[in-house]
Amino acid sequence: MFLKVRLPIMLTFFAGLIPIVAFFFVDGTPVVKKLSNSLEQDMVIVSGFALLLGVVNVVQGNVRKIEPREKGWFYAIVLLAGMAFMGLFGAAGAMRLFGLPGIGMMPDGRPTPFQWGSLYMFTPLQATMFALLAFYIASAAFRAFRIRNLEATILLVAAVFVMLGRIPIGEPLFGPITEWMMQVPNGAAQRGIIIGAALGAASLSLRVILGIERSYLGLDKNE
């Protein structure tokens, strides 16, 4: 009970309280600021170990797909091969093994294997995913701007003004209206959401620090 419930709640209490106290102290204050900075560094270290747990989980999950030849098992092999390639050459480069000068470029200007994988495989794949956003915005806008009721009509009219105000041909005429719409009605709504969310976050933090909210520990109210 102590290790599973009380100790995590006590640790959460202190780990949550220290940054709050540190916020009200000037830089250079002994103990408090040091503790707060140290907590942030600890988080990075713990994340590093947790990432190892994640890598093990990925390997286990994909091996489990390959063994019984589950649907799409071939892609699991591609994933594991990619992970092994980048992992091995990344580690070898970082440790300067096999004559690799690092994980960037070779002295003669050629990319190291890790850099090659990053430049010619990983970056284009990332860019492809990001580029898809343009098409998804178009389809989402089409759905949002269909005139179904008064609110949707207002949204459509506002969107037309904003779009016209943001292109060179429409900027002289619609620019000021666009700016007003973005700064006044849109800005007011956004501020309302931001203030509500900030207070909600503060309230949640208080619940976590006081041990009232425990679901993130896998505990319920009776424990």
């Binding site: 709050i20 994340s47 998804y136 976050a201 619940r207 009232i212 993130y216 319920d220």
Partner: protein
């Protein structure tokens, strides 16, 4: 040497006021006071979404955002995950929780395991339900989108902290025909979720979700305290705008050191 940062005195006063109000309402709730919390449609629809997945024999996909456990939205998301996992355990529906952040992955796994245990169905829990995908934002998006297209989950939950991937995930889920419940406090991503999802938890609704779903008096008390603080902040903003417009208290401003 003075250690206290006097420029943050206003923040300290608001913080103390907020703590006092929240703690007072928690105390009131614990002593049996009746607290009304308005209905949140997105949270009421969770059971319907899980029920639909169960009837169709398809999985429930839960995406807890892309940030780590030090982000409040992730903690709020795990509270909702606990409830969703409890429902999938009761109904016997399949649950899939892909993760981007390793610490969130570890917490989500523990949350789901305990939810199945509390629902009295530890036999239905298996380690592959909550799994790690990758630390890269778009690789994660590609993997989750692929799951939506190939396996066509009947219910998608996109709850937590999202950035550029929000619309990619929500639109893919919409195209796959799933019922979608989203929630985030990222203001820039909210329009995308509102466009592409059936229900959206907006900002503070996400943070209130854990309390709303658990119905625990102490948690509901904190929501009530938060609402009263919000009312006080709104009143201060209105008063500030009036006083500023009428040039009232200009001398007071220089006295308390506001430029």
């Amino acid at each position: 040497m003075e250690y206290f940062d006097s420029s943050r005195l206003n923040a300290l006063l608001l913080f103390l006021f907020f703590c006092i109000v929240v703690l007072a309402f928690i105390q009131r709730a614990r002593s049996g006071g009746n607290l009304f919390i308005r209905r949140i449609a997105g949270l009421n629809a969770i059971e319907e979404a899980v029920g639909r997945a169960t009837e169709l024999g398809k999985k429930v996909l839960y995406v807890p955002g892309i940030m780590s456990i030090d982000e409040n939205q992730t903690i709020a998301s795990l509270a909702v995950l606990s409830h969703v996992a409890g429902l999938t355990a009761r109904y016997g529906a399949e649950l899939d929780v892909p993760n981007k952040d390793p610490l969130t992955f570890a917490s989500a796994r523990e949350t789901v395991r305990e939810a199945y245990l509390h629902a009295g169905r530890p036999d239905l829990y298996n380690e592959t339900m909550v799994h790690y995908v990758t630390y890269d934002q778009f690789a994660y998006t590609a993997a989750v989108s692929g799951t939506m297209v190939r396996e066509k989950p009947a219910a998608n939950f996109l709850i937590g902290s999202f950035y550029a991937e929000s619309l990619l995930l929500a639109e893919t889920g919409q195209a796959s025909g799933a019922i979608q419940i989203a929630g985030t406090a990222e203001v820039a991503q909210l329009p995308f979720f509102v466009c592409a999802c059936d229900y959206t938890l907006i900002g503070e609704e996400l943070y209130a979700a854990g309390a709303y779903l658990s119905r625990e008096p102490a948690m509901l008390g904190s929501i009530k305290g938060q609402d009263w603080t919000k009312a006080a902040v709104a009143a201060l903003i209105v008063l500030g705008a009036i006083f500023e417009s009428l040039h009232v208290f200009h001398g007071l401003k220089s006295w308390i050191g506001i430029n």
